[in-house]
Amino acid sequence: MQIKPAINPVEAVKAALPSAFITVVEFAGETTLVVEAAQLVAVSLYLRNTAGLIYNFLSDISAVDYYEPTGGIGDRPARFGVSYHIYSMLYNNRLRVKVYVDEGDDGSKPVVPSVVSVWPAANWLEREASDMMGIVFEGNPDQRRLLMPDDWQGHPHRRDYPLGYETVQFSFNVEEIMKHKPVAKE
């Protein structure tokens, strides 16, 4: 059987889906393809199914919070970035697809289309990002939290989430802490 030689994913996406392409970033030998969030599923399907690409394995989904007061968005288009680390087992190629999303004006959660229909492995990865970063993956069949308890408030990996709930205890502040520290009785 003749296998089609590998083609450049960036040029292929640029040609096939010009409206989805935003930019491309090359760093440390890794390629990051930034695309429109609304067309993420179309780009994913194209990357998975096209001969010469065949990105058939989703390694990881990670989300980043570029919160303005702690470092900031800079020249990025939105506060949240969601990266899809995909791998072609046929050609031994790796690619990172990235989308940027913002919160709604009313403070509603950022929304990204789910890619579970493209790579079933995305289910738990999206649930993790959703749990930790508060990103809604529209179309994910299971919207429950993955790591934190079901009744948890907030999303711990956001930059505006408090690190802990108790000050570190030293001899100079032990009395202040013990005043409000809960202690279980029988």
Binding site: M148, P156, L163, G164, E166, Q169, K181, P182, A184
Partner: protein, 160 residues
């Protein structure tokens, strides 16, 4: 020849009911079989042949809280795990004791963050705290002996 010595010759010991019961309890304080993190590895080592917790009548870990007297919280308690630990404690029959093993169970240790309970004493009453990260088996045995001392000091009039 005093009466004590004479009775001793006959193989009789005089004591109080309190001391006898407390002594019996220290001799068979069965721990609940569970571990939460790396402290559990040291706890297993304590159970093993080298440190031999059987010397104190504690070689028998009960997998059911109904049959356990002692809860050794070996590891950090996450906030997701906290209701489970409290549930296990509630299911244990009286009299029951708790040892917080290691820094994390005692005060949160290095995990000063949103996910970890800052000391298991926030959810269950603790009798003995064992410091260390993780504590060596000798330290845990010292904690257990300290608990034995505490049990020996219990009074009938305090029992409900």
């Amino acid at each position: 020849m005093g009466v004590t010595q004479k009775l001793g010759d006959l193989g009789v010991v005089t004591t109080t009911l309190e001391t006898a019961i407390n002594w019996a309890r220290t001799g068979a304080t069965w721990p609940l079989l569970f571990g939460l993190a790396c402290c559990a590895i040291e706890y297993m080592s304590t159970q093993g042949g080298r440190y031999d917790l059987a010397r104190f009548g504690m070689e028998l870990n009960r997998a059911s809280p109904r049959q356990a007297d002692l809860m050794i919280v070996a590891g950090r308690v996450t906030r997701k795990m906290a209701p489970v630990v409290r549930n296990l404690y509630d299911q244990m029959a009286n009299p029951k004791w708790v040892i917080a093993m290691g820094d994390c169970a005692s005060c949160g240790g290095v995990y000063n963050n949103y996910a970890v309970v800052q000391g298991v004493d926030e959810i269950i009453p603790v009798d003995v705290y064992v410091a260390g990260c993780p504590p060596r088996p000798e330290q845990l045995i010292h904690g257990i002996l300290t608990l034995h001392e505490k049990i020996m000091g219990e009074r009938i009039k305090d029992w409900a």
